[in-house]
């Protein structure tokens, strides 16, 4: 029954709800409008569609979702590890993963390689231009960006946290990291700006703690 092909007039009838919700293509909209302008029955059909629109809205809005659904979702989310994520994994985690590998030979080999890499990196850092700085092991973008580590009050609603960060034109760059802290990049040009913005962040009631991360050198 529902798969019969509609004639043109029936199809226009079927399109009226989509005319009302504004999702028709230009061609379809113009066809409906031509029909509405030429057929008195079309105007009555449109009135009925408007009544159906209100009735469907009332029927749906009368259904009240449970008030505690968000807290239950949050609890379930915390239990879910989720799939492999798109975010880059830090070198520290990767090295940790090697240590945790089941093959002890492979783990010790990886450890030796990591120690050698660390030593090489230390030598490289100590011999390079003193005006540069870097955060060992961070991604390319983070190497150059000053950041702080921030923890928020446990009861802080996420929407308010987002609002506070947006008001300061900041965003969470990574987290939660071990210890429940978030890394927030500070778009500043010097140490004074860094200190000012970090203090501004710390003054927010939702913020529990601000820990200095990569800070530009004083000018």
């Amino acid at each position: 029954m529902s798969t019969e092909k509609l004639d043109r007039r029936d199809e226009l009838e079927a399109l009226l709800p989509f005319y009302l919700n504004g999702t028709l293509s230009d061609d379809e909209r113009e066809a409906v409008e031509r029909w509405l302008a030429s057929d008195p029955a079309a105007a009555i059909a449109l009135e009925e569609a408007e009544a159906e629109y209100s009735a469907a809205a009332m029927g749906n809005e009368a259904i009240r979702p449970p008030a505690d659904a968000l807290s239950r979702l949050s609890a379930a989310l915390e239990r879910e590890s989720g799939p492999p994520r798109l975010a880059r994994t830090s070198w520290l985690k990767r090295v940790g993963g090697w240590f945790a590998a089941p093959s002890s030979g492979l783990a010790w080999g990886a450890a030796a390689l990591a120690v050698a890499l660390l030593a090489a990196q230390t030598v490289w850092i100590s011999t390079r231009d003193a005006n540069d700085y870097s955060v060992a092991g961070s991604g390319v973008e983070q190497v150059q960006l000053p950041f702080v580590l921030v923890s928020f009050n446990d009861e802080a609603p996420i929407s308010e946290v987002t609002g506070v960060l947006q008001s300061l034109q900041l965003e969470i760059d990574a987290g939660p990291l071990p210890g429940g802290v978030y890394r927030i990049v500070l778009p500043v040009s010097g140490a004074a700006d860094y200190d000012r913005l970090a203090a501004e962040l710390e003054a927010q009631p939702l913020v529990a703690r601000v820990i200095a991360g990569a800070r530009p050198k004083a000018e």
């Binding site: 529902s2 092909k5 709800p17 029955a41 159906e52 968000l70 996420i158």
Partner: protein, 210 residues
């Protein structure tokens, strides 16, 4: 090169900004939230939940008629978002994607319930001897009667009515959500509206068509 040059950082951040992000907007788009979820940010899933849960819950409630099932399925939809976010390709609106997941999970839940009922030897539906929808509607005003008639439409018809009128979906989006051709969406809509017209007429309300 000064690593603390503000303009340089701004440019870098702009390069890293997601497509479609509005520079002055205080609110992240649904797609941006899905992208954040894909990077492992649970907070983004919570924000999507706050935006869409009520509609998803109502959609499932209308499909299943069960508050318990609607609650379970609606929560499961957002956990699925968390699991599937890295695979979201952005071809459909996020709300359409959510309703598609909800539809699939609601049908699965209904199928499980039917199997369980059969196992337990229960009747699927019990006639209660109450008034027919048409008789009851004679006691209502036209708007209330129409709402009752929509509630009593066969599920496949009620769903296209809800998706178009309440969820604001297009013909092709409804086709995606229900996994049916657009021609079928139109025929279902036509017959849904025809049935509403007939029911109104039987209840004594005049209707211009069919």
């Amino acid at each position: 090169m000064n690593p603390f040059d503000l303009s340089q950082h701004t440019e870098e951040r702009a390069k890293r900004a997601k497509p479609g992000m509005k520079a002055q907007s205080n609110q992240l788009s649904d797609r941006e939230l899905v992208a954040q979820a894909a990077r492992g940010e649970r907070a983004a899933v919570r924000l999507l939940f706050m935006r869409h849960h009520a509609r998803v819950y109502r959609f499932v409630m209308r499909q299943t008629g069960s508050e318990t099932m609607a609650d379970d399925v609606a929560n499961e939809v957002f956990l699925e978002v968390w699991r599937q976010a890295p695979r979201f390709e952005g071809r459909a609106e996020v709300s359409t994607w959510l309703l598609g997941i909800a539809r699939y999970k609601a049908l699965s839940a209904l199928r499980r319930r039917r199997e369980q009922a059969l196992d337990e030897g229960q009747a699927e539906a019990v006639e209660d001897g109450a008034d027919t929808p048409e008789v009851t509607a004679m006691k209502d005003d036209k708007g209330t009667a129409l709402r009752r008639f929509i509630d009593n439409l066969p599920e496949e018809h009620r769903t296209v009515i809800d998706l178009a009128y309440y969820h604001g979906k297009s013909v092709s989006e409804i086709g995606e959500i229900l996994a049916i051709p657009v021609a079928t969406v139109k025929t279902r809509m036509f017959y849904a509206r025809k049935k509403l017209g007939e029911a109104l007429k039987a209840a004594g309300y005049d209707r211009g068509w069919p």
